[in-house]
């Protein structure tokens, strides 16, 4: 009954109702769609960082993080491997790496790069390098002279496939060692910086060059579900306590990224509130208008014995219906827009260097998070009903005499 009454009431002035609904629809649409774009950027940042040789959980020598040199590498990879195989949850993949800063040189250029020694087959499953090859061939296990470099580095060094690159670094005896590698493949990464920074050789070749024997710099683990990172890391910490290993999750490895994500989330929430204030005042004004028009009516029903609380309820149901239709359509439009962009993404190529500066890819895909969707709708509904209390109480306060005397 009440719903029917409210429904008829809001359509007594369809133009007014449609205008205020438009405000709600645009507001909700922008919350959902722009929220998803922001979230897409955040997800992209995280994925880029995880795929760029971070992984979900990493194990290092306990001094490696503060002093990443070859001396601080992991020994006893064999027993660690059996521990990992035994304790990691199903679906988890891991690979070990040597990672060290070296000087890369050819006839024309010299620069500092990061040498990554990888187990080619296992690495392909856990980081970007598996799908990033654009030319030449991938490394083979135990590849003795092959090296894979980024496209941007190839240009920087004015060299090409098949040419040599000389790497120089300090080995475990503090001696400078140099070794020539032949470029067998080039990769393309989301970011030019990655292409310039990392060069890949096989684990064996890196260990031999640096006299590491079977030692490695890090073990990187990728889980089937990255939300389990903290749990897995806690578990490994317990098992590996008392050893020289240190276990870290990606959140601990990338504090700057985490701080950025927090700012992102804060910004989205502030945005929700600002949009809400703009549309909330519209809702209050519209509802006020609607009740003042119907003053006589309210006076009459009151004179006939309707309770104030019922009038409050009646007005609240009206704004509830307004909000309901507005948010439904807004959600629908928002989701449609997200779907429209989910195929090809939003192209930021114009801002390529800027996108790289803040760590996102050139194409961003909006990502809808259930939490954001719920928060946006709850903000609109709860606050919307809350401010509608003002006109509702106003309507309930009309006394029959005053209201009926009003023309």
């Amino acid at each position: 009954m009440e719903f029917q009454l409210a429904w008829r009431n809001i359509w007594r002035n369809p133009r007014r109702t449609l205008v205020i609904m438009c405000a709600v629809i645009i507001g909700v649409w922008s919350m959902i769609f722009l929220g998803a774009v922001m979230q897409g950027m955040a997800v992209d940042m995280v994925n880029n960082s995880i795929a760029t040789l971070t992984g979900n959980v990493q194990i290092h020598h306990k001094n490696y993080q503060s002093d990443p040199v070859v001396e601080n590498s992991i020994t006893g990879i064999g027993s660690l491997a059996s521990t990992l195989n035994q304790h990691l949850p199903p679906g988890a993949k891991w690979a070990s790496r040597v990672r060290v800063n070296v000087i890369a040189q050819n006839a024309r250029h010299t620069n500092g790069v990061t040498l990554v020694g990888i187990e080619p087959l296992k690495e392909a499953e856990i980081s970007f390098i598996g799908q990033a090859l654009i030319d030449g061939r991938y490394l083979e296990p135990g590849d003795r002279h092959g090296i894979i470099v980024g496209e941007a580095l190839l240009e920087q060094y004015e060299t090409k496939l098949g040419h040599k690159l000389i790497l120089t670094s300090q080995d475990t005896d503090q001696e400078m060692v140099s070794r020539a590698f032949r470029i067998v493949g080039t990769f393309r990464a989301q970011m030019q910086e990655t292409e310039k920074q990392f060069v890949f050789v096989s684990l064996g070749a890196a260990q031999k060059m640096l006299k590491l024997n079977d030692r490695v710099s890090e073990v990187s683990i990728v889980l089937a579900d990255h939300r389990n990172s903290a749990k897995v890391s806690e578990n490994l910490k317990k098992i590996l306590s008392g050893t020289s290993f240190e276990v870290k999750t990606w959140k601990e490895l990338l504090p700057v990224l985490m701080a950025y994500l927090q700012i992102f989330n804060g910004f989205v929430f502030v945005w929700y509130l600002v949009v809400f204030v703009a549309m909330g005042s519209g809702i209050v004004n519209t509802m006020l208008m609607a009740i003042f028009e119907r003053m006589r009516e309210f006076g009459l029903v009151k004179a006939l014995g309707m309770k104030s609380s019922r009038i409050v309820k009646e007005v609240l149901i009206e704004s509830f219906l307004l909000l309901l239709i507005g948010t439904l359509v807004g959600n629908l439009l928002g989701i449609l827009c997200i779907l429209a962009f989910s195929q090809n993404g939003i192209d930021l190529t114009v801002f390529a260097a800027g996108a790289e500066y803040i760590g996102i890819s050139r194409v961003v895909y909006p990502a809808l998070r259930a939490g954001d969707l719920i928060i946006a709708n709850v903000v609109v509904f709860v606050l919307g009903l809350l401010i509608s209390l003002y006109p509702a109480l106003k309507a309930a306060k009309f006394t029959p005499v005053e209201a009926l005397g009003h023309t």
Binding site: R16, G112, Q156, Q174, A259
Partner: protein, 410 residues
């Protein structure tokens, strides 16, 4: 007359007017403040980054920026210096040379850049002198002394007074080698810079890398950020006249730090979308107030029309009403927003809570909002246009009324 009538009409329902005015005022305030904050943040970022190393403008050999080849030099920098002395708006300039080297202590070796500086002039251009955390800055009569980035010093395991060895390639292709003593350790807040650079006197650099009097960069700072493009053009013109300087290029901070400049553009583009949506929501929210003006007062308009008021005058009356409301709101919003921005322009906003992130982006500690005509007026200006469009609909609608129909309106 029309104004008086419009003014009285507005206040026939003070509550409604106040709610509408405050919606507009609040949105304008927000726009002014957020934009000032944004511009302030950009300026802080730019000035901090510029001061750490790049300067506002640089003169370099063509392609040096991409290839960093030690043979791509600026010959006879003093001639360029004389030219710069004559350009107004140039605050200071200095010469720098830089070479890629292997930098070693007795335990460790790392790759990095050795930068040759003129200590006194360098201090006018960059903040290197003020970021020395241990030891002291270079003076021009020190011999073979070096300033080392904090992270690099840690990696090399060296402290003040320790020796480091520089090994690289000289300009003539010969092996460049030298031993320098750590005199100071600096921390700029930019990890990459602190991890990979060593500064020595340019005279020492000259000797180690056999530069023959040439340098790699002339680094220039200007008095006001807004003047960069004008000065850049002047320098470009001046160097063009020197026929033998054809291989030189002038680069501004946007070209020196394309990531910074483009991320600012991207941020700005994103923000504009947010602002437009906000303004649109506001416009729809207040459209109802304007619409009401005709539906509530249909009878009244009928009377006015019967008395001979032309539809054109009615439209004008209604537009004056809605625009007065809008303009009051906008004026209040601009005033309060500007005051707020001005307050934080003087006092700054403490954002050290998220400092780790911000140092990565070259901001440290405090951000000052930057109130400008652009930040104070562009948001409210767009708001004015869009609300005017919203007010136009009811104001034109009224023209289709006829006195008879209007007077019989319930």
């Amino acid at each position: 007359m029309d104004f008086k009538m419009a003014w009285r009409n507005i206040w026939r329902n003070p509550r409604r007017t106040l709610i509408t005015v405050s919606t507009i005022a609040f949105s304008c305030l927000l726009l002014v403040f957020i934009m000032s904050f944004q511009f302030g943040g950009y300026e802080t970022m730019i000035n901090t980054s510029v001061k750490i190393h790049s300067g506002h403008l640089q003169l370099q050999a063509k392609d040096f920026k991409e290839k960093r080849n030690i043979r791509m030099v600026v010959e006879d920098p003093q001639i360029l210096g004389k030219m710069l002395d004559e350009i107004s708006g140039v605050k200071s300039y200095t010469y720098r040379s830089e070479g890629f080297s292997i930098i070693s202590s007795d335990q460790r070796s790392f790759a990095g850049s050795v930068i040759g500086i003129d200590p006194e002039k360098e201090a006018e251009v960059s903040n290197l002198k003020s970021i020395i955390r241990q030891g002291s800055y270079l003076s021009s009569d020190d011999f073979n002394q070096a300033l080392v980035g904090e992270h690099l010093a840690n990696k090399l395991k060296v402290g003040l007074g320790d020796e480091i060895v520089i090994l690289g390639q000289g300009r003539d292709g010969s092996i460049a080698a030298g031993v320098v003593t750590v005199q100071g350790i600096f921390n700029s807040g930019l990890d990459e810079f602190d991890r990979s650079t060593v500064h020595i006197r340019r005279a020492d650099f000259e000797e180690i890398f056999t530069m023959g009097g040439a340098v790699h960069k002339v680094v220039i700072t200007v008095k006001a950020l807004g003047e960069v493009s004008r000065i850049k053009e002047m320098i470009a013109k001046a160097t063009e006249n020197m026929v033998w300087k054809r291989s030189l290029v002038v680069l501004d901070w946007k070209e020196l730090m394309p990531g910074l400049s483009q991320s600012i553009q991207m941020d700005l583009a994103g923000a504009v979308i947010f602002y437009l949506i906000l303004i649109l929501v506001v416009a729809f929210s207040i459209l109802n107030t304007f619409l009401m003006a005709i539906f509530e007062r249909t009878k009244e308009f009928g009377v006015l029309m019967a008395l001979g008021v032309t539809p054109g005058r009615l439209t004008r009356l209604l537009l004056i009403e809605s625009m007065s409301i809008t303009i009051i709101g906008i004026a209040v919003g601009i005033c309060v927003g500007s005051l707020l921005s001005w307050f934080f322009q003087v006092h700054g906003i403490d954002i050290s809570g998220s400092s780790e992130l911000l140092t990565e982006y070259g901001i440290s500690g405090r951000v000052y909002t930057r109130l400008s005509l652009l930040s104070a007026l562009s948001g409210p200006g767009v708001m004015l246009i869009i609300t005017f469009a919203a007010a136009l609909y009811p104001a034109l609608k009224v023209r289709s009324l006829t006195p008879v129909k209007a007077l019989s309106h319930g």
